[in-house]
């Protein structure tokens, strides 16, 4: 068990960041696929493509929300213990 007052909050933030990194990887896959030469003709996309894309972004959103919560928890902890103003 850690003796640092905010160690648990820091560990949770680290974990949530890493989860967010993994979740956002899936969205990057869709982002880089955008064809955006204005003169290009766009072929149709495979069935379920937009559904998959939205699912990936939803997962990223959940992971991001968890990261923000963990970030605020660490901030609060550090303020409580006088590590920051």
């Amino acid at each position: 068990m850690s003796t640092e007052p905010c160690q648990k909050a820091a560990d949770e933030l680290r974990q949530s960041i890493n989860e967010w990194v993994r979740a956002s990887e899936a969205t990057r896959e869709f982002m880089v696929k955008i064809p955006w030469d204005i003169t290009d003709e766009q072929d149709t996309v495979p069935p379920g493509y937009f559904g998959e894309m939205q699912q990936a972004f939803e997962q990223e959103k959940r992971a991001r929300a968890k990261y923000i919560k963990a970030n605020i928890a660490l901030l609060d902890c550090m303020q409580r213990h006088g590590f920051i103003d």
Binding site: R22, W36, I38, I72
Partner: protein, 154 residues
């Protein structure tokens, strides 16, 4: 009408040449001064002109061409849907660029120091992601409408 179009576009040939040089990789080679009617009547060329650095001039030329009864060929039944999809795609691309700067590239190393971000940073990040989500929704809606239109008209 082609004669009129030639007349209108007489003064823009240097801009067309410039456009062709710039966009050469995207177009089949077109000999200078020849087959211009094919070129000016194509929607692709209209888009290319408007995407270039001489938009005001191109818009004027296009307007004059249309006022004199000229029509761009290739206006398919789904042209509006396609234009909307292209605009939505570009808007989404810009929005994703904004969120990328907030995204962490790789997992943190166990020994890596960690510091919480200030609330202002989180708010800014949230706003950027909100814009991205809206742009993505419009992109999906526009692309779906375009595909449905193409399917319905084929």
């Amino acid at each position: 009408m082609k004669g009129q179009a030639y007349y209108i576009l007489d003064g823009v040939m240097r801009h067309i040449d410039e456009a062709l040089r710039f966009y050469r990789p995207r177009l089949d080679p077109i000999p200078k001064g020849k087959n211009v009617s094919i070129l000016i009547e194509s929607n692709d060329f209209r888009r290319i002109l408007l995407a270039g650095d001489f938009q005001i001039f191109a818009k004027k030329a296009i307007l004059r061409f249309e006022r004199h009864g000229g029509q761009f060929m290739g206006d398919g039944p789904c042209e509006d849907e396609k234009d909307r999809a292209m605009r939505a795609a570009q808007a989404w691309e810009i929005a994703t660029e904004e969120v990328r700067r907030f995204m962490v590239d790789k997992p943190l190393e166990p020994e890596e120091a960690i510091e919480p971000k200030p609330p202002e940073y989180l708010e800014e990040m949230d706003a950027a992601f909100e814009r991205e989500a809206k742009a993505r929704e419009e992109y999906i809606a526009a692309m779906t409408a375009w595909f449905e239109c193409e399917e319905g008209s084929s």
